[in-house]
């Protein structure tokens, strides 16, 4: 797959001080998973280069705008092993840089002229912001259930994955309602798997990328795996859980072998989600046989996404 250049300094005004330097830092180290998903979808749907770039830029701009704002909200010092933008530059610049990316998305989409795409993208941004807002309101809530967190993640994370799955079809002007309902569900499940896998990284599970351990816990936020671990804990145990500084403490708190057992249960639960995801793709394949190669390709995604394999 050809590497897409999402960010070009020519696309942004050079007279705005520090803007391009900020974006250089932001876009240089990302995995670009979402834009790769767009490319994968677009290859099968035979979209042209301009369309692929539009979609890839849109999703990466929106995603990175949310990261700029997130880091300021959470007061995170690092992003992708570099100093976070709000800290390196100023909080004001971080906010404005995020807003500018969103504005650029609207400029690009409106120039392209697909009204349905514009409408869907604005709804997605709205969902994303709603999810962020609600997630922030849950900081410090140590009794939040997995079910409630899934609703937050559906807004915050899954909305982008749903967009990646559906937007290429919208660009292709394939707006079959039935197809889009199922694609929406497929994107939702993919987003959920991604988020849960990301939450496992926080507990050093399959953490090959070396993400900081227990960052969510230390920020006062119970992520999906944290909530799963805490669901049977009494108040005293939850207090101790909250204060854990490293994984040894977490494992000691749960008891010998219990952590591995709980992880196994969590993985088992997510295997059911993967099975459901594959089932929906099979159903789509039988309804739209001409798209079977696309759906067969999408079936491979849980491996890198959840199991963090290749």
């Amino acid at each position: 797959m050809q590497k897409l250049k999402i960010y070009e300094s020519d696309d942004f005004p050079t007279y705005l001080p520090k803007l391009n330097a900020l974006y250089d830092d932001l876009f240089s180290n990302g995995k670009g998973f979402r834009s790769k998903l767009i490319q994968r979808m677009s290859d099968h749907l035979k979209l042209d280069e301009r369309q692929v770039l539009l979609l890839a830029q849109t999703i990466e701009f929106i995603h990175n705008a949310s990261l700029l704002h997130d880091d300021l909200i959470d007061r995170s010092a690092l992003r992708r092993e570099k100093t976070a933008a709000w800290l390196k530059y100023t909080p004001e610049y971080a906010v404005l840089a995020g807003d500018y990316l969103l504005a650029r998305v609207m400029v690009n989409l409106s120039r392209y002229g697909n009204l349905q795409l514009i409408q869907y993208t604005s709804e997605m941004i709205s969902d994303l912001l709603e999810g962020e807002w609600i997630q922030d309101s849950l900081v410090g809530d140590w009794d939040v259930s997995l079910k409630q967190l899934d609703r937050v993640h559906n807004l915050k994370t899954a909305s982008l994955f749903k967009w990646c799955i559906r937007a290429p079809f919208i660009v292709k002007e394939d707006n079959d309602e039935d197809l889009h309902q199922v694609l929406d569900e497929v994107g939702c499940l993919l987003g959920l798997l991604f988020q849960r896998s990301d939450d496992l990284l926080d507990f050093n599970i399959r953490n090959d990328e070396g993400k900081a351990i227990l960052g969510d816990l230390k920020s006062g936020y119970l992520n999906s795996f944290g909530s799963f671990l805490a669901q049977d804990m009494n108040d005293q145990a939850k207090m101790s859980f909250k204060q854990c500084e490293d994984m040894d403490q977490v494992k000691r708190l749960l008891g010998s072998g219990q952590f591995e057992e709980r992880l196994k249960d969590f993985d088992e639960m997510n295997k059911n989600i993967i099975d459901l995801y594959i089932h929906h793709l099979d159903q789509l394949g039988s309804r739209r046989p001409e798209l079977q190669p696309l759906f067969a390709d999408l079936k491979k995604l849980p491996e890198p996404l959840y199991w963090r394999g290749n």
Partner: protein, 352 residues
Amino acid sequence: MSEFITLEKGHESFSAHLLGTFSKEKRALPVKSFHANTDVERITFRLVDKEKIQKPSTVEVVAQLFRVELLGLTLMPLAVTLILLWNSSVEVNWFLAGLALLVATFFHGAAFSYNDYIDHIKGIDRVGVHSGSRVIQEAWLTAHQVHRISLGLMAFGGVLSLPIIYLKPLPAIGVAVGVMLGVLGYSFAGRGFRARGLGPTLISLCLGPLLTCGVSMAAANVVPMSVVYLGFYFGFLAALYLQLRHFERIMADDELKIKTLISRLGFDKSKKFILLQLSLVNFFFGALIYFNGWSSIYYWGLVPLALASANLFSRISRCQSPLSSSLEGLRSSGAYLHLVASFTLFLLLLSR
């Protein structure tokens, strides 16, 4: 590996899977509906072996289906009214009174289990809102079984109500309609009422003065003012219960575009509105004692009520998010508050 099957409405096995009659060894749990409640509905079911389902005891399953936690909303107004009449030395036909309580119990169970069945068939329980008893969704019972149970309860209730209808037709029908409308105001089927903000009004009338005055008329041929006051107090408590339930679901109702009073007010204003009502629970209890001219010893009843309402007050005050853990189970706490108030009144009136 999980087993899934997706069926369209016209498929020959669709109904059998939805009702749970397709197999003796397996249950089909709906996990996703597309085009819910339309002619082109398609449902994805997860098939599980019946023996692998972790089912609680039969008593727990029946209690959950029957909504035992809500039985107080239906029965306690009747019971407290009867005790009030006895306390006021009014002549009560205890045979009819006992029958009325039994009939109300059966109709309560029938209405809620039928509601669960209908919500399942229409797909309401699959649109992301976790309401109902969950008995069907957890595969503890099939939809077909729940339907039969609801019809059986309705039949029992109907048979038991015959003497009441024969002897006191108008009050009997009034009470029955009151209970049914009350459940309608509560359930998703009554979302039309809720959309017009009539849910709390319906509930407060039907599970309040209609119930207390109806049973007073049926059992004693008289409706003293104290029974009317009592009715309005119970109506207030029932409406508060409903609002707590709506507050618990404020985000889900907004997503489904169900405009309840709570969702119209929004999170912040609803919180204040409910906190105000929780304060008024105690005030109105005191007013009930005062205006009925009851003994001042009855004011001691405020102690357990104040404790229960303070606990709920504190929980709601702490709540900062529509998905906060403090909101989970809020409706059960509302039902508990109703039970504390009504049971306190019952004991006070019983003590004479």
